[in-house]
């Protein structure tokens, strides 16, 4: 349940309300908005039955959260969450934000194939207005014989390019044992569609101080996606960005079917930012631009797009990767769609720590 407090409530009053909840063995989570502050209660709510919460000073209302996800639910936050990536102590010279008015675009190769191709891609996508770089080091491929990624060597390339080009980086983590080394080199950790319900991985990511990009599973419902986010948040990490990347349907003209409706549904259900992956959804490079436009029109907070210096020779997902030119063109056209949705396409911005240094 959430406790909605009166405007002008004092810190001491908030402390007392939280103590009354925590006395029963539950935990509390505070969300401060411009107009009101919300106390979220996490744990067995039946234990609060005898606590006269409504009569405590400063309490305006007590609202049950009927959804199985609590921390991820819209009711739990006073305002939509803005997730800032690259902002911890100026690790990356630039910062990307998800949520709020801006639209952020992540772009880069499916997998890191070498330092030079990663650097060239980073420079090109930054110039085109992307605010983050993507690049896989560990690749969960359907076939055990397909290219599996460069692993630790790719992580070092990612760190080097991030330092030189400045864009914060997201890369996938497949195994809890990889988390420490990936978190050392990347600014955001991605959970791939195939791992969306790997609950031990999710719980471990909840203990990490890095934002998480959580991709929707191939056959996962919106509710299951939100429950996966809840797993991460329950361990303390509240910086989760959700990603719709297409679901399995009977249609086989496209790799997956982009569930455009998932975007407004998620925006209604959760305070977390929602982005779309048009590359995996369509599986064909020609579809990337139209699906991106649809995503922004539907209210997405950003995109994650595969871009490769030479898509025809890519070691993975070449069919769905955009060339630098195609990406530039798409970004130029995206501006009008963002405007129509009342949003602004925002590139990477200098971090406060970077500016001070």
């Amino acid at each position: 349940m959430v406790i909605i407090t009166r405007s002008g409530i004092t810190d001491a009053e908030l402390d007392v309300i939280r103590e009354r909840v925590e006395q029963r063995g539950l935990r509390t989570h505070l969300s401060r908005g411009v107009e009101r502050t919300i106390i979220g209660c996490i744990g067995d709510e039946s234990l609060l039955a005898e606590v006269p919460l409504r009569s405590l000073p400063g309490v305006e209302d007590v609202v049950p959260v009927l959804k199985p996800y609590k921390l991820a639910s819209r009711e739990f936050a006073a305002m939509p969450t803005v997730v800032r990536v690259g902002d911890d102590g100026g690790r990356a010279p630039l910062v990307a934000s998800f949520g709020g008015v801006g639209i952020a675009v992540i772009a880069g190769p499916c997998s890191v194939e070498g330092a030079e191709m990663l650097r060239a891609t980073a420079v090109a996508v930054r110039a085109a207005g992307a605010s983050m770089l993507r690049g896989g080091a560990f690749k969960p491929r359907t076939s055990p014989y397909a290219f599996q990624g460069l692993g630790d060597a790719a992580l070092r390339m990612i760190a080097e390019v991030r330092r030189d080009v400045g864009l914060p980086v997201v890369t996938e983590v497949m195994d809890p044992r990889q988390i420490d080394s990936v978190a050392e080199h990347a600014d955001m950790l991605q959970v791939g569609a195939r791992n969306m319900q790997n609950f031990s991985l999710l719980s471990e990511l909840g203990r990490v101080k890095r934002p998480v990009l959580l991709k929707r599973g191939l056959s996962a419902t919106i509710k299951e996606l939100l429950m996966a986010a809840e797993y991460i948040m329950a361990q303390g990490n509240r910086d989760v960005v959700l990603c719709e990347r297409g679901i399995r349907t009977f249609e086989n003209a496209t790799r997956n079917t982009l569930d455009v409706a998932a975007v407004p549904v998620l925006k209604r259900e959760t305070h977390l930012p929602v982005i779309v992956d048009p590359s995996h959804a369509g599986g064909i490079s020609d579809l990337v631009a139209p699906l991106s436009f649809a995503a922004i029109a539907a209210g997405a907070d950003g995109l994650i797009v595969e871009v490769h210096p030479d898509p025809a020779s890519a070691l993975s997902d070449g069919d769905q990767s955009l060339s630098f030119d195609a990406f530039r063109l798409m970004m130029a056209r995206l501006t009008a769609f963002a405007d129509a949705a009342g949003r602004t396409l925002v590139g990477a911005r200098p971090s406060a720590a970077g500016a001070a240094a």
Binding site: D15, R18, V21
Partner: protein, 102 residues
């Protein structure tokens, strides 16, 4: 002359930095010693509670510890939310210590 002055300033700054870092190391040692003392006391309390026939877990008491920590944190100009998180971790240490004998 200016260069000489700059390098003297830099050397002085490096010296101050090294001193501040040594002080932080000392503070860390003290913090850990205090944590060890807290855990030691928690073990005693665990034993006493068992003898007195009281339950080891006491959420009301924990909630009080957290409220006090948040209030003191604000007085000290620290983020009360961060200090709350730290104290839940510290309570976790003490909980483990108290229940060890069970």
């Amino acid at each position: 002359m200016t260069d000489a002055k700059t390098s003297a300033d830099a050397a002085a700054a490096r010296e101050s930095l090294a001193r501040a870092r040594r002080e932080i190391e000392e503070i860390d040692r003290e913090l850990i010693a205090l944590l060890a003392r807290r855990v030691g006391r928690s073990k005693e309390i665990g034993t006493l509670k068992r003898i007195a026939g009281m339950p080891t877990l006491d959420p009301a008491r924990e909630a009080e510890v957290i409220r006090r920590a948040a209030s003191v944190a604000r007085e000290q100009g620290l983020s009360d939310e961060k200090v709350r998180d730290i104290f839940w971790q510290i309570i976790g240490l003490s909980r483990t210590a108290q229940t060890e004998g069970e």
